[in-house]
Amino acid sequence: MSEPLEILDPEVISKQVREEVDRALKRNIKGLDFLIADREPVGHMPKDALYRDGTAVLYRYRPLLDEIYRVPLLVVSPPTNRGYIFDLAKGQSFFEYLLQQGYDVYNLDWNPPRRDERNLDFDDYVGRFIPTALDLIAEQTGESDITLAGYCAGGTLATIYAAMEGAGRIRNLITLATPVDFTHMHLFQTWADKRYFDVDLLVRELELIPPEIMLGAFDLARPANRTAGRVNLWTNMWNDEFVKSYRMFDRWAAETLPIPGAYFGTLIKDLMWRNALVEGTLEICGQKIDLSRIEASILNIVAKHDHVVAHESTAPLMTQTSSQDREEIVSKGGHVSLVAGPSALRRLWPRVDEWLGRRST
């Protein structure tokens, strides 16, 4: 508790009043700027598109160093999100960090799917887009080995591909907040409860599933976040760095992508309801997916306070795969904090570099 005498100290009060008046003025001025400002620019590292097939785009980020690691790295974005989350801003960009450490970074990213892509399914994402990207990278680099990584649902796609390929060119598999055991996706399980959720109706009537359908579930699970975020924004409106960061994350969240109905149907029916990836009953391109076929070195990264992907839902990566080289990092923070932000730059990414550098020569 504060001392009453200190509270009444006129000098302390006077200083606080001055600071608050100054901040209030800045809030009002910058608040107006905030309302009329353009979208915050994101994705600043130079990159080249190597391949485009409808929703799928493969980028190569231009290497920063004259000497890079032999094994290239392909990061698969989640189909619901823009890949610029990996390159949000200078000084807090995952890709910038990896490039500075000497990795050859590729990103399989997604454009909003067109209506004529409504029938794209896991067969296309795992059986067509990923192997095509791998072929092109092998052709460009001349390397037969690769590190495959993925964030959130992008990690699930990468994992399924690694299981489909078995002992092949995937030397390392890095999974960031990657759901595998969907029985532990509690929010989505209740949201898409088989008894009440008519997935066929959604797929049939909407064809492309709009992001609002899924974002609504997030908002219900964390109803205070949006309001508290706005309140914190107003309180920190005087702080340019805070406002910039808020606007970048806000833009990213607002630009959540729709997903093809067929993909959504498989996600709900096979992964969510049947837990088919863990049960070994998932079929992609006519092939049963067996996690035990994964032999690559695995780095499984989870966020301690992730309310989207619980630690338990990533567990099969550490228990059901055949890899002899598996490591797990539980990082402080939430779902997005693994791939963006200054704390990941200080705490998590150096550990990723330490792990991956030794396996990229």
């Binding site: 508790m1 504060s2 001392e3 200190e6 509270i7 100290d9 302390v12 606080q16 608050e20 901040r23 080249d48 598109a49 190597l50 391949y51 485009r52 097939d53 409808g54 160093l65 004259d66 000497e67 890079i68 690691y69 032999r70 050859d104 067109r114 004529d116 460009q140 680099t141 001349g142 390397e143 209740t190 949201w191 409860d193 008894r195 009440y196 959720f197 008519d198 109706l201 959604l202 009537e205 359908i213 609504g216 579930a217 219900l220 699970a221 964390r222 109803p223 205070a224 976040n225 309001t227 508290a228 309140v231 309180t235 309310h307 570099d353 330490e354 550098g357 030794r358 990229s360 020569t361």
Partner: protein, 120 residues
């Protein structure tokens, strides 16, 4: 006690944080219930039907006014997107924007720093 002087802004932030935490915790419990599943299932279904009915009604009105409807504009937009997609693919096949490895490519001989390799 040598506590910091009272800071009203910090106190306000703490109140907001506590409110956020408590409301989220309560909602977290509610969203685990079967009632939530039933409610959200019905709400999703109702939203889809309502959107469909509204879209059909709006489309009829626009057609009677001889104005393009959302679905017609979407159709045009998709055709444009397909054309853009094909142009992008052609450009990539022609090598415009997809640099091939050349003499300027970095050497792929990097090894990790000795300190980080020590605990393998």
């Amino acid at each position: 006690m040598a506590d910091k002087p009272f800071n009203p802004v910090q106190a306000w932030q703490e109140v907001v944080q506590r409110w956020e935490h408590e409301l989220n915790a309560w909602s977290g419990q509610f969203t685990k219930s079967e009632e939530f599943s039933a409610m959200i299932g019905q709400a999703t279904k109702a939203t889809v039907y309502a959107q469909k009915a509204m879209a059909e009604h709006t489309e009829t009105v626009l057609r009677s006014l001889n104005l393009p409807s959302k679905s017609q504009i979407e159709e045009l937009s998709e055709r444009l997107a397909v054309i853009e997609d094909h142009i992008a693919q052609i450009k990539l096949q022609l090598g415009d924007g997809a640099p091939k490895p050349s003499g300027t490519e970095p050497r792929r001989t990097r090894t990790p720093k000795a300190s980080s390799a020590s605990d393998e």
